[in-house]
Amino acid sequence: MKRVEVKLALPIVAPLLDLIKELADGLKKHLAVAPVVTEVDPEMRDAWFGELVSAQNDDVATLLGLFDDEFFSEGVVAFDESNAEAVVRACAAIRLRLRERWLKPLGDETLESGDVDVAALDEPLRKAFMCYLFLATVQELIIQHLDSSILES
């Protein structure tokens, strides 16, 4: 089984985890982005959303599980076929939530281009954007190294 271990800089990543956990708490009962489902009846729509929230919670729990006691002592997280798919989806969910909660002032065009002067941002916005970049980096690492594990799982 292919496994990717990544050594993270604890002083940089640890402060971001508080925000990630806060956002994860906000996702327990809500979807990162409520999908538009107009072509199904209300009862089915409720079931649809309920299933999505449940799946989202499973994925986010897998992501948060990476940052355990071992992470705080060694600074290492590991990805493999058992967690890659859930983690890459959870990162998407939290990045979408970050946009909704914190990053709207940057504007969608800036967010999409990534052309942001981080040093010019005030502290809460800078932390949110750093979190956004960190989660994107995790996604890129997984896609680069575990793409086939996800496609074959």
Partner: protein, 110 residues
Amino acid sequence: MSRFSRRRLLNPIRSQTLPRHLPHTETELKVDGLWRVVVLNDPVNLMSYVVLVFKKVFGFDEQTARKHMLEVHEQGRSVVWCGLREKAEAYTFTLHQWHLSAVLEPDEAR
């Protein structure tokens, strides 16, 4: 009334490669017609992530997945699948699980 069953919700399409157009009968088409699964652009999800999702969910090869991703990125939307309603609903649900903006539309050309 939707033909989307709770059982279908519990068994979303997640990994298997499915034919893009399933065999169908004339009767089925008259009842529900054809439906399109349309993915809309969002400013958050990475291009590489969207390509991965298309490959995973629809079994697209790299070139096809990239073509649809670029359509979404440049034109704001891409029709990624068209066929019977129940399957279209399942695909839409699966794309929502991957946090892509996807909508179900009746195929006007039917």
